[in-house]
């Protein structure tokens, strides 16, 4: 094809224990905005790192404008006309805008000429920016402009944008989209990585969808509904949930009109969330990542406080109580991020056990830690959940992701919670261990605990949940029993209420 800019053929990259990209093949046309769509961990970042020369592929070839393209390092990719705007900005706070731009260029002009060129480009593309300002004084949107201008000054043929809107305000997103459309009209190709479906539908000409490192489909986003895109992303094949004999007891958790602003303006605010959870019930919450999952867990665990009356646990209003106070009567939680959130990386497994189980498991008495008991607690978790480690004195950092996941989940389950809130319980865990964690959760529910599982994995949610609800832009859909839910209904819930209405009109 003459109008193909970059052709990717069978690109494969494996890391120890995980295949990040498996035989990925697609083409990016000239002057095309091409979306790369997929969940967290689907292999999007690894793929673009290979295109940008940060990571070398194990197998597969790339062709740029008809010529073979295998950049050994980023500067070679830049010279070939590939530029990249990073998800986490690679900027230097203490340096000025012009200095930051110069660092990203192979042969920067003299400082005075460079400042003039920055002004030209920023006016041309509607990205106002003062070259003399220090980056530390810029907003997230302005910082991104620095990155974009740094790329544009090198007249790229392909601009890679890794989740560019995750830190932007809606107004800044509009400005960015205008710039991207202008670039496209000038013939620049853009590879746009995101998991925000609406953005992709309004901006992109073509989409390639990745799941578990494999290309699972491609489509024209403007002609595909958000629901279909969501289905492609999260996978549509799952076992029909079998009917379960559930004995529901009294209400354990009652959430009423929970509202929480986004943290530091970044992230998703929670909007008007209400639901109830009964003893013995498992509520599965699905949704595309970044729609309020972390925020919901924080609001329930006590990491972030909400207004009085919003969160009621066992009949008591716990909205203003911190995590420690909520843990004592049995509201336990396990967040998604293992290192740094669920576990302190440089502390031993025993110490990490004491951190969440100290009071409830009686490991701390009169302010003193009973190390013997703590060690037995850690050993108990290690044995019951088959954590592969030399012993409880090993630092949490030293465990592989899956093993640490087994430990942090097990640590909460062993404490016999009344309510367990858990985000991504089997993320990065191998199939057998995942099954045993799920079984442990089911056993816990059978014993009378209420469980709230947040997960990206629909199959998992269908397997263990009694009820299913979806988060979309911080709103929670009405929970519905999983029996009788079909893929179409789930897709409607994932796509959000807005999508549901249009789909109803269409059908």
């Amino acid at each position: 094809m003459d109008d193909t800019l970059l052709s990717i053929q069978g690109l494969t990259k494996a890391y120890p224990g995980v295949v990040a990209n498996d035989n990925v093949t697609f083409d990016i046309g000239k002057g095309e905005i091409h979306a790369l769509l997929g969940e967290n961990g689907a292999g999007k970042s690894t793929l673009v790192k290979m295109i940008y020369g940060l990571v070398a592929p194990d197998r597969g070839t790339m062709t740029l404008d008809g010529a073979s393209f295998a950049p050994p390092k980023p500067s070679v990719a830049r010279q070939a006309g590939v530029a990249m705007v990073f998800q986490h900005f690679s900027l230097f706070d203490a340096l000025s805008v012009a200095e930051n731009v110069a660092l990203g260029m192979e042969n920067p002009p003299k400082p005075r000429d460079l400042a003039a060129r920055i002004r030209d480009v920023s006016e041309q593309y509607g990205l106002p920016l003062d070259p003399a300002r220090d980056v530390s004084s810029l907003s997230a949107g302005e910082r991104q402009r620095v990155e974009i201008i740094r790329c544009l000054l090198q007249d790229p043929r392909l601009l890679i944008m890794d989740e560019p809107t995750s830190v932007l305000t809606p107004q800044e997103v509009e400005i960015l989209f205008e710039t991207l459309r202008k670039l496209k009209s000038e013939g620049t190709s853009i590879l746009y990585i995101s998991h925000k479906l609406e953005e992709i539908r309004s901006l992109c000409d073509h989409a390639t969808i990745l799941r578990h490192g494999q290309k699972v489909g491609d489509c024209t986003p403007s002609e595909t509904s958000a629901r279909e895109l969501a289905e492609l992303m999260v996978g549509s094949s799952f076992a029909t949930p079998k009917a379960r004999d559930v004995q529901l007891g009294e209400v354990v958790l009652k959430v009423q009109n929970l509202e929480l602003p986004a943290l530091d303006g970044i992230g998703t605010p929670l909007r008007d969330i209400s639901f109830e959870l009964r003893k013995g019930e498992v509520l599965g919450i699905g949704g595309v990542a970044g729609n309020g999952q972390d925020e919901l867990l924080m609001a329930l665990s006590g990491e972030r406080l909400s207004d009085p009356g919003m969160v009621t646990f066992q009949g008591n209003d716990v909205s203003r109580q911190g995590a420690g106070q909520r843990r004592l009567p049995g509201l336990l939680s396990a967040p998604e991020e293992r290192l740094g959130h669920a576990a302190a990386p440089d502390m031993s497994l025993t110490e990490n056990g004491v951190l969440t189980a100290g009071k409830r498991a009686g490991l701390v008495q009169n302010g003193f830690i009973d190390w013997g008991k703590s060690r037995r607690f850690a050993e108990d978790v290690i044995e019951k959940f088959d954590v592969r480690t030399p012993g409880p004195n090993v630092a949490a950092r030293a465990l592989s992701g899956g093993n640490l996941q087994k430990y942090v989940v097990g640590r909460e389950i062993v404490q016999k919670p009344e309510l367990l809130v858990i985000n991504q319980p089997t993320w990065g865990v191998d199939a057998a261990a995942a099954a045993s964690i799920r079984q442990a959760l089911l056993d816990l529910a059978h014993g009378g605990a209420a469980i709230l599982v947040i997960s990206q994995d629909l199959d998992e949610l269908m397997e263990i949940s009694d009820c299913f609800a979806a988060l979309n832009e911080g709103r929670l859909s009405q929970p519905r029993p999983v029996q009788g839910l079909d893929m179409e209904q789930i897709g409607l819930m994932l796509g959000g209420a807005h999508d549901m209405e249009t789909a109803h009109v269409a059908s």
Binding site: K49, L54, V55, K73, P74, S75, F86, F89, S90, L91, F92, D93, A94, L95, E99, A102, L103, G104, P108
Partner: protein, 307 residues
């Protein structure tokens, strides 16, 4: 107290001489810290430079060869620090302290045969008419070459950091090593070069002590000058010209209090001896209170290029 016994001309001249060792060490450490590395081994590299420079100068009878050898010795010692911290990822604070202890011990060992000897010293530079200016000529323009080299070095470091691409990359590495790595710069290589430069400068500073200022070898003769150099880097908010001011201020107070002691000031001697340190700390606190830090953001952090 007889203040008239203090000659202003001699005072300024001796301030310049007494500040030069600290100036060398501090400007070197500034470059190291700008690259994001905290090398607390300045004292150890200085004294190693002092003894190696002295020994080589005595044996070759050429002080300039002594200075070159001192720079090489400081750089070699800093290479050990660089290898440990940059390649083996050891803790920079602990490694730097270890380097100081190692340098002190090593220098005592090397210096044993040279105790009590006198070294050949640098001739005063004849700057022609400049040196003949009354007063100022004797104050500023009749020193040995290394005094002027140290000031030129400050100017060169300032220009390098401000105007050159190499300086920009060095600052970028010290500011955010992860970002610099993402842009494809060789973080470890840049830092190793900075560490070597810092070591060489500290070696020169040490040699200036043993070859010009004193000029003989005594064990432990740096007597904390390396630590003062480290403090001055902070006090100068990592800016080259302020390093010059800081070093001359410290040197000035040191010389002044010696003169005051000699003049019989009615202040306890212990307090006078402590005054350079007290004044340096005072200025440091004032600068910190004003919030003008400018410390490189990655200072002292371990870098490993793992994705």
């Amino acid at each position: 107290m007889d203040l008239s016994s203090i000659s202003p001309v001699l005072l300024v001249a001796s301030i310049m001489v007494s500040a030069t060792p600290i100036l060398f060490a501090a400007i070197g450490e500034l470059v190291v810290e700008k690259s994001g590395v905290l090398n607390l081994g300045v004292e150890g590299m200085m004294i190693t430079g002092a003894v190696v420079g002295f020994a080589v100068a005595v044996n070759t009878e050429s002080p300039l060869v002594g200075f070159v050898a001192a720079a090489v010795a400081g750089a070699v010692l800093s290479l050990a620090f660089g290898f440990l911290t940059q390649h083996l990822l050891s803790n920079q604070v602990a490694t730097g302290l270890g380097l100081t202890l190692a340098g002190l011990g090593l220098s005592a060992l090397i210096g044993k045969p040279y105790e009590g000897m006198k070294s050949p010293t640098l001739p005063k530079l004849d700057l022609g008419p400049l040196s003949d200016i009354p007063g100022v000529g004797k104050m500023v323009f009749s020193h040995d070459i290394m005094v002027y080299v140290s000031i030129l070095l400050v100017a060169a470091v300032w220009a390098f950091l401000k105007f050159t691409r190499g300086g920009l990359i060095l600052r970028a590495v010290g500011e955010s090593h992860d970002s610099a790595h993402a842009l494809g710069y060789k973080v470890v290589r840049v830092r190793m070069i900075a560490i070597l430069f810092g070591g060489a400068c500290a070696g020169l500073g040490g040699a200036y002590l043993s070859l010009v200022r004193v000029p003989q070898w005594t064990e432990g003769m740096t007597a904390g000058a390396g630590w003062i150099a480290l403090a001055i880097v902070v006090f100068a908010s990592w800016r080259p010209w302020r390093i010059l001011i800081g070093a001359y201020l410290f040197g000035g107070v040191t010389v002044l209090q010696l003169n005051l002691q000699a003049a019989g000031a009615k202040v306890p001697v212990a307090l006078l001896s402590a005054s350079p340190y007290l004044i340096t700390i005072l200025v440091l606190v004032i600068i910190s209170a004003r919030g003008a830090h400018g410390a490189p953001a990655s200072l002292g952090r371990v870098f490993h290029a793992s994705n």
